[in-house]
């Protein structure tokens, strides 16, 4: 009888000890944190349409948010749990890095440009969108390229990669263009609407988003060549290659299976905000290249 009990106890403990091999956070601090709390903290933007914004039902939604949900599914499989609570944390351009660094959010699902300077601070998952700086102006303003703007005023959001690119282009071309910085896109748009500026420079996808939301979309145009190259990607914490690999594997899987194209179509062709941006050939190739085999 006693022997029997020991045997049972041995089996029970064997099972309980062996369980973590199925549901393993491994050496990943992020996965460990999620396993301990049962909560995934997703950082989201509030007005990055249609990537990450507050939707009609007051919940964050968008292209990047959908992609993050796929990663949450992969985390569930990895940890062997049936459900994880999702906690949405709003972030801004200024708070996203500190919040990733101190572990308040496990991933950032917004519209963040991946560049090498920023990679000193965070890790990026594969590129999910490719955009670049263009300029929006009123129809009939005669503005096509930055070079057409001699003697005029251009606005852009302070501290963005666009600001850098436009200032560099103005300096390179020796152009006489007055520069006005604004705090965010909505203010930049207001400045364009009230003629404070002649053109507003930003990522082209965001400009299309602003136009689609304005009360008279046919009044505005997006023109010019790309003045910068801005690949967007989701952000995760540095020094956590296990979690980063999980994210990469998830994204590669989506790109391989073609599910990525469906999610893209859902938000961009034409998408709930009528932005209507068919997938560019560059992005199509980027998805193919990043669809690594298992």
């Amino acid at each position: 009888m006693k022997k029997h009990m020991i045997f049972v106890a041995a089996i029970v403990s064997a099972i309980s000890f062996s369980l973590p091999t199925f549901a393993d956070a491994g050496d990943s601090p992020t996965l460990k944190r999620i396993q301990d709390s049962g909560v995934v903290n997703i950082g989201h933007r509030e007005t990055s349409i249609p990537f990450s914004y507050i939707g009609a039902n007051n919940e964050p939604e968008g292209y990047s948010i959908d992609l993050c949900h796929k990663i949450v599914d992969a985390i569930k499989d990895q940890l062997g749990v049936s459900s994880l609570e999702i906690n949405y944390v709003p972030v801004t351009g200024q708070t996203r890095i500190p919040l990733i660094a101190n572990g308040t959010i496990d991933m950032e699902c917004g519209s963040t440009t991946n560049n090498l300077t920023r990679q000193k601070q965070v890790e990026y998952l594969p590129t999910t969108f490719i955009t670049g700086t263009k300029i929006a102006s009123k129809m009939g303003s005669g503005i096509n390229e930055l070079e057409d703007m001699n003697g005029m005023v251009i606005g852009m959001s302070a501290g963005t990669t666009n600001e850098k690119a436009i200032k560099a282009a103005i300096a390179a071309g020796g152009l006489d263009i007055k520069v006005v910085t604004v705090k965010d896109h909505s203010q930049g748009w207001l400045a364009l609407k009230t003629d404070r500026i002649d053109a507003y420079g930003s990522d082209d996808v965001l400009l299309y988003g602003l136009i689609s939301k304005s009360n008279n979309p046919s009044n505005y145009q997006v023109t010019g060549r790309f003045l910068s190259f801005d690949p967007y990607a989701l952000m995760v914490q540095r020094n956590d290659s296990t979690f980063e690999r999980l994210g990469r594997a998830t994204m590669a899987g989506l790109m391989r299976s073609g599910e990525m194209h469906e999610i893209y179509a859902k938000w961009f062709e034409p998408g709930p905000t009528a932005i209507n941006m068919p997938m560019s050939s560059t992005l199509r190739v980027a998805f193919e290249v990043q669809a690594l085999p298992n």
């Binding site: 200024q94 890095i97 660094a101 572990g103 601070q121 501290g159 009230t194 404070r196 540095r238």
Partner: protein, 240 residues
Amino acid sequence: MNYNWDWGILFRDPYLGWMIGALGWTILISILAWIIAFSLGSILGIFRTSSKKSLRLIATCYVEFFRNIPLLVQIFLWYFVFPELLTDEWSRWVKRDMPYPALTTAIISIGLYTASRVCEQVRSGIKAVGEDQRQAAQAIGMTEVQVYRYVLLPNAYRIILPPLTSEFLTIFKNSSLALTIGVIELTAMTRQIEEYTFQGFEAFTAATIIYSLVTFTVMALMQQVDKRTMLPGSFSKGAS
């Protein structure tokens, strides 16, 4: 915390120059706005205690209007709404041809807002000097202007030196609201460095230290002013 500290960023080109330039804008906004606030506030404070009912009414309306609307809203109204109320020609001038449109708007709106607060301080200072002093001055045949010039104001300013000091420190910190209309002052520049380098902790620490240093300097200066202007046997106990 998984963060790559790099304090050297603050001393590297071009970031060091950016911070110094931005501090310059912050100081410029604060001082020019303070000149507006102090002169207008003093006049309004005198109006508010004057014997003429119409002057009291003007000052009261001003204070109620400017003190009760949040400063951020006022800056937005001056920057975005006010030019639309003007004629096309003037509207264009304000929006385009005026020197530094955003900076000028910020200085004026912060100055006008703080004037309402200075006005209340001046009023309380004058009240603190006391009605009997006013009556005594009038009894020896002083005109109302002379009463203010030689009796009420010299004492009132000495009494309100400490609260005026903190009002000036507030204007210095309020100057950061100018970033909301695109003026790249110290806080805005800190954010910009954060966006460019992702070294936000270092940049914001630097901004904190710079703001503190400036406010400590102002406090030390005002303490000296307080000491030098103190009258024997008066209420003055030193600025803090």
